[in-house]
Point group: C2
Chain length 192, copies 2
């Protein structure tokens, strides 16, 4: 989110045709829940287009990129790499440490406070190769149960940001949804 | 979860073929994140089978049912119906109230504490008919942005249970994943 070290989401193992919807949901979840950027490995141009379209309509800033070299993205990442996997350490055990690294150390004086690290959250589709486990700074399980990379990413981001992502503001939107107890209210963005 | 009023997840609008994977992810997310039961509307027998298979291998209790009458499930639900939708009230504004209803009122004495209400969390796929909005006790947005019903459900359950779901224990599992900083460790369930 703006004013914080970057959080990007890398989606591995996209198979065109088969994975379009899941990859789109990963991208949209990253955008909605406070990440700054999604990086989609492989030929995920259709998902990229859908997420860009939503960003055009509902606002940003949010970027979606494609990469043919996801391993280089991981290797060259300047901060913490957090691979979400059901085999990893329990999120409730490591989240404080990851959050502290992201926010930067709180020293006694404001001036001494070091800058936080950008975070790359990595989510796979089916099999993830073993070098991702080795390259990652953290392998983290949002439960050690099989469920959904979209669900794992959502809980991880909500915990990383401690709910601040729910208050984020959007720029350059065409339209805005106004929360409502019943029914739907969508207004042009400038009339909110 | 065991020892608490039931939480069930109703998945609306399943289209066989097209929605199999998303519906399966809804079911697996419900199971992994503390719900007791998933109810899938329409011909979702393939997703039902996948979730049952995971429950056989990784433990329960967790039930998956099909229904041809999702509206009757909503209408006849004995507790709170929470419809997750991007048009709803902000989750951060209503979660305390929903949680309090689920847990039951905390009276001064233990004996006076009333029983909590079971919760039915409703998630749609594409279009959800207007009567669902009207029948629901709460229409709740996990952000008012378009993203993923799986992500919305995950964040809602994690907030409803305040993380207790991450500590839940599993019965009758064949295998258990042991959390690990790097690599994968899966052991027969009785050797944990």
């Amino acid at each position: 989110m703006q004013g914080e070290p970057e959080v990007a989401v890398l989606r591995l193992g996209h198979r065109p045709g088969r994975d379009e919807r899941m990859t789109t949901h990963v991208g949209l979840t990253a955008r909605a829940l406070g990440a700054d950027r999604a990086i989609l490995a492989g030929d995920a141009s259709k998902s990229q287009g859908t997420v860009e379209d939503i960003t055009d309509r509902f606002g940003g800033p949010f970027d979606v990129e494609l990469t043919d070299s996801p391993k280089a993205v991981i290797r060259d990442w300047p901060g913490q790499v957090v691979h979400l996997t059901m085999y990893g350490e329990r999120v409730q055990d490591v989240e404080d440490e990851i959050r502290a690294a992201h926010r930067g150390a709180d020293d006694d004086t404001e001036e001494d406070a070091s800058e936080g690290d950008p975070i790359l959250a990595v989510v796979g589709s089916q099999k993830v190769s073993f070098d991702v486990y080795e390259e990652a700074d953290y392998n983290v399980g949002v439960t050690n149960q099989p469920h959904s990379e979209v669900a794992g990413l959502a809980v991880f981001l909500d915990r990383l940001f401690e709910g601040r992502e729910l208050e984020r503001e959007w720029s350059d939107a065409d339209q805005t949804v106004v929360p409502k107890a019943t029914g739907k209210k969508v207004v042009p963005a400038d009339e909110e």
